[in-house]
Structure formats: structure tokens, C-alpha cells
């Protein structure tokens, strides 16, 4: 089983490595790091804080967009280009195929987050800001955010076109990211809007758990620059993400299992 999943994952990694847009996104991340350096120089106080914030935002934004891009295309193109015909005729279960595709994407995204993270660390070193455990925790949370977003994208891709999957995945990510703000904003709204928002927030992954810096947690403000979340919070948030990843990939596999490849 693991051999077959690994074969698909390896092939997906090879395929993704050839997507030139990824290199463009890599350039954008490097660009955002350079922008962070410039903005840090322009800031009156705490240049390190600006550099860290812009760098982490770049990883989260571009990492998640890359996850959506890979998630909506890599599974869909297997069906559209019929490359899947020669694969599923072999002794591999369809769920193994979907898990293999996700695993391949996860490896690509992990490498990207690692590269983005290293670029940011290099940028911070240039800027004179040292490493901290808060930064490491924030990077781990960003990594799991990207992996969760990839699972959202592959779920939609299992039954929809790349365009629609992209829109659905982007909307789910944005809603999940803004969940606390949406909940607070709709407190005073009509019951219909309040209930609709509540339902929407219940059915989307709580992606906001991965971007905790600058928020209030249990009544205390947490920040990657000062008092950040403990490792136990990071573990819980990653566990939450892992649960969603398993559920979404399982649903994707279930939907994929029922499809005819004509």
C-alpha cells in the first residue's frame, strides 16, 4: 500500500516541480522578503517586527495560493488528460491514488514552505533580527495552514472543474481565516445573517487558528514578537488541521471512488 502511494506521490512531486508558476511564486516570496527589508528600514520603531510580519504574511498568502493552485489542478488534470486510465487499471485503489496525489502535493508544499522560511530567516539575519521560538512556532503553523488549504482544494477538485474548485477553495480559506472577525461583525446583524454565518463558520476549517499572531487568545494578546502561543497550542492547532486534512482527503477519495473515467 505505502509503495503504491509513494509511487503516486513521487510522480506528483515530479509533475509539480515542472509547473513554472511555482517558480514565479517563489520569486514573489523572495520579492515579499525584499519588500519586508525595505519596509523594516522605513519603519520608525521595531524594524524586526515589520520584517517578521511581512515575511510570515508572504509565506501564508503565497503558500496558501500555491496549495490552491496545486490542489485544483493536479487531480483534475489526471482525469482531463486521461493519464489516470493507465494508472487506475493497475492494482491500486482509488483512495490510494488520491492519498498519493495529496502526499505528493504535501511534499512539494513542505519544500516550498521550507524554502520560503529559509529565505525569511536569511532576510531577518540580514536585517539583524535573530531567530526565536515564536518564529519557529509561527512557521510550523503556516506550514499546517498550507497543508490544510491543499486538502480543501483537493476535496473540491475531486468533483469540480479547476475554476470552480479554485473559487470554492479560495472562499473557504478566506472565510476560515476571517472567522472570528465575521462572527464578531455579525453579532448585531439580523438572525438570518447570524445563523447563516454561524453555519458557514461551522462547516469550514478554522484556518484562523494558524494565524494567531496579533490576536487575543483566552483574553490575552498573543504575538509572534513577544508572548506567543505555547507549543501545546501549536500541537492542538496542527491536530485540528490534521483532522480536517484526513476528513477532506477521505471525502475526496470517496467522491473519486464513485466517478466514471470516460
Amino acid at each position: 500500500m505505502t509503495g503504491r502511494i509513494w509511487a503516486i506521490a513521487l510522480n506528483t512531486f515530479r509533475e509539480a516541480a515542472r509547473i513554472r508558476v511555482l517558480y514565479g511564486i517563489g520569486v514573489l516570496v523572495l520579492g515579499s522578503n525584499l519588500l519586508a527589508l525595505v519596509l523594516a528600514q522605513l519603519s520608525l520603531n521595531e524594524p524586526g517586527r515589520v520584517a517578521r510580519d511581512v515575511g510570515l504574511a508572504g509565506i501564508s498568502l503565497f503558500g496558501s495560493l500555491t496549495a490552491i493552485l496545486l490542489g485544483v489542478f493536479l487531480l483534475y488534470t489526471e482525469v482531463a488528460r486521461r493519464t489516470i486510465h493507465a494508472i487506475v487499471a493497475k492494482p491500486i485503489s482509488r483512495w490510494e491514488f488520491v492519498v498519493g496525489k495529496y502526499a505528493g502535493m504535501a511534499v512539494v508544499l513542505s519544500v516550498l514552505v521550507a524554502v520560503f522560511g529559509l529565505a525569511m530567516v536569511a532576510m531577518l539575519a540580514l536585517q539583524g533580527t535573530g531567530l526565536s521560538s515564536g518564529l519557529a512556532k509561527a512557521l510550523v503553523l503556516s506550514w499546517f495552514e498550507v497543508l490544510t488549504v491543499a486538502a480543501i482544494a483537493i476535496f473540491f477538485s475531486s468533483f469540480s472543474t479547476p475554476f470552480l474548485s479554485g473559487i470554492f477553495a479560495l472562499a473557504t480559506w478566506v472565510i476560515g481565516r476571517l472567522a472570528p472577525d465575521l462572527e464578531a461583525t455579525t453579532q448585531q446583524a439580523s438572525p438570518v445573517i447570524r445563523v447563516t454565518t454561524k453555519i458557514a463558520l461551522e462547516i469550514v476549517p478554522d484556518v484562523h487558528l494558524f494565524a494567531i499572531s496579533g490576536r487575543s487568545l483566552d483574553g490575552a494578546a498573543v504575538s509572534v514578537h513577544a508572548d506567543f502561543v505555547p507549543w501545546s497550542y501549536v500541537a492542538l492547532a496542527c491536530g485540528h488541521g490534521l483532522g480536517w486534512i484526513i476528513a477532506l482527503v477521505a471525502f475526496a477519495a470517496l467522491l473519486f471512488h464513485r466517478r466514471d473515467f470516460v
Partner: protein, 320 residues
């Protein structure tokens, strides 16, 4: 039953169109069996249901009704798929891989150990004449080379049953002959080969049994000798006409009349008096070039059965 490589019973596939939800019957109760060690040709016009049948057998499509077994296992069984090699129609492979990597991927999915994967990939790549293109990505392959790469990946597991969807498609005459020879070689190794094709001469040349499918239904099923009528269908005659001799008088009552220069070819009806016709031709100054009895060919049968299937009155009738 144990000797059947493929056993298909009343296989039916109905689709619904995306917006109107109109029913489209791609397969309507297809039933046939393929014995182990045979070469089985599956022929039919475009849209007949050949590829739908093959994709259903390979687990790509779920049947709406009916059942089938591959090597004694039910459809979709992993145990069967481990012993089957499959070449899809107009094969699309990952174009960033080279043929060695494609074979390696196939070998991994079959669970072969690395040394076996390498040894089989090397042997198949050489056998299929792709040795010199081994380093090239599949993107740079011609259609014929892709077809051969597809055959290589299909044979990586040394399968008992080989299912080939249009394996001769896109190949030049030499390529077609090589594939025919490969199919015969696979049969000689004791493997069962099931292939679909439009090319009837290939079917006549190499198959043990044939099935003709049209409009989602089986129209005929048997050995080529059983299917085609042994009775005389007519007499093919070729004569060289005297200079300026019009062909009209000799062509009267004949069919398939063709004149190229002074050479006239035609087919006389089976009940025609050939001696009397030849005497008339002699009297008109023509010289006889060839006289041959004409028996029904698989192509005649194919045209007859497919045309019959296309007539509304015959739609819905079961295959004999």
C-alpha cells in the same frame, strides 16, 4: 468457467447527458467470453461501445447492470488487475517522464522489486525498439512511439491477460506488423490478448475469435471462419479489353465494376454462368487476366452487421 480469461454477461452502461439528463445507452446487454490463451478481436465502428466495454472491464467505468469477471475475479478486483496489462486508447502518459521512468512507475504500482523493475523495463524497451529514445521525455515521442511505450508499461507485470484498446491506431504499416507480431508472441507465451480495432485485416490475420459490436450491442461472436459465410458470394473477374472496346456490354449484371485503362475488373453474381460470360468476353476481343471465387470476408460481415444495427427496425435485437 475456469478456462475463461474474460466472462462478460449482459453488461449495460447508461449515461445521462449533463443538462438534459437524457439517457444514452452506451452498452446494451453485451455478453461474450474470452478463453485463456486466445487472441480475441473486438471490432466495431466509432461509438459502437468498444472502448466503453474495455473501460468497464478495466474498472474505469462502473456498469449500470450486468456482470463480468477477469481471470475469474469480479470487476474492479485488485487481484485481477495485478495480472492484467492494459493499453488505453490513444494513450496519454505523463509527458515529463521518459519511457524508463514510465515503466518504473508501472512496476512500482504492480509492487515489483527494484531489480525486477529495472530488468523488465530494459528488456521491454529494447524489444519495442525504444532503446535509442530511452532518455527522451515522452513529450517528444511520436504517436507510434507513445503506443509502444504504452505497450511496454502494460507488459511490466508479465500479465496473464493483455487488454489493448486500439493498439494499431496511429501506427505505420511496419509498426502495425510489429504489434501484430508482438500479439502473436504473447499468445505463444500462453497469454490471453483482448484487443479492439477498426482494422479488419489485422483481426482476420491474427485472432482466434472475434466479436463485432455496434450501437452498444454485440452483433456477432465466433471464430473468423465461423462468422463468415463459406458459400460462394460471387466470382471476381479481370479482363484486358481490346482497344476501344466499351465495357458496358460486359458489365451488365455485374457489380463492383472498375475500369483502369484497358483493364476491367468486376464481380459476377454467384449464380452467373461464368463460362458463358468468359465466352462473350473472348468474342469481344478481351483477354482474361484473372478469375477467382469470392467468399464473404470479415469486412463484408462487418459492413452487413453494422449496417443492420444502424437500421431502426433491427435496433434492440440481440446478437445471434
Amino acid at each position: 468457467m475456469a478456462d475463461l480469461a474474460i466472462d462478460v454477461h449482459a453488461l449495460t452502461k447508461t449515461y445521462r447527458t449533463p443538462f438534459t439528463r437524457k439517457k444514452v445507452e452506451a452498452l446494451r446487454g453485451v455478453t461474450f467470453a474470452v478463453e485463456r490463451g486466445h487472441i480475441f478481436g473486438f471490432v466495431g465502428p466509432n461509438g459502437a461501445g468498444k472502448t466503453t466495454t474495455i473501460r468497464t472491464l478495466m474498472g474505469l467505468i462502473r456498469p449500470s447492470a450486468g456482470s463480468a469477471t477477469l481471470l475469474g475475479h469480479p470487476l474492479g478486483s485488485r487481484a485481477a488487475r495485478a495480472r492484467v496489462g492494459f493499453l488505453p486508447e490513444s494513450p496519454y502518459f505523463y509527458d515529463y517522464l521518459n519511457v524508463g521512468e514510465l515503466c518504473d512507475l508501472a512496476g512500482r504500482l504492480f509492487g515489483l522489486p527494484p531489480a525486477v523493475r529495472k530488468q523488465r523495463a530494459d528488456a521491454l524497451i529494447e524489444k519495442l525498439g525504444l532503446g535509442r529514445a530511452r532518455g527522451q521525455s515522452l513529450k517528444k515521442f511520436s504517436k507510434g512511439m507513445l503506443q509502444r511505450a504504452g505497450l511496454a508499461q502494460a507488459l511490466m507485470n508479465d500479465p496473464e491477460l493483455v487488454v489493448l484498446d486500439e493498439p494499431m491506431s496511429g501506427l505505420d504499416p511496419i509498426g502495425r506488423k510489429e504489434v501484430r507480431d508482438l500479439i502473436l508472441e504473447l499468445r505463444d507465451q500462453g497469454k490471453t490478448v483482448f484487443f479492439s480495432t477498426h482494422i479488419l485485416s489485422d483481426v482476420e490475420a491474427i485472432t482466434d475469435r472475434v466479436a463485432i459490436v455496434a450501437r452498444g450491442q454485440l452483433q456477432a461472436h465466433g471464430t473468423p471462419a465461423e462468422l463468415v459465410s463459406r458459400s460462394l458470394q460471387g466470382v471476381d473477374v479481370t479482363v484486358r479489353l481490346a482497344a476501344g472496346e466499351p465495357a458496358a456490354a460486359l458489365a451488365d449484371g455485374a457489380h463492383r465494376v472498375r475500369r483502369v485503362g484497358d483493364e476491367l475488373s468486376l464481380t459476377l453474381p454467384a449464380d452467373a454462368d461464368v463460362d458463358a460470360w468468359l465466352a462473350r468476353a473472348h468474342a469481344a476481343g478481351a483477354k482474361v487476366v484473372a478469375v477467382a471465387p469470392r467468399h464473404e470476408t470479415l469486412e463484408d460481415l462487418f459492413v452487413r452487421r453494422v449496417a443492420g444495427a444502424d437500421r431502426p427496425a433491427s435496433a434492440g435485437q440481440a446478437a445471434p
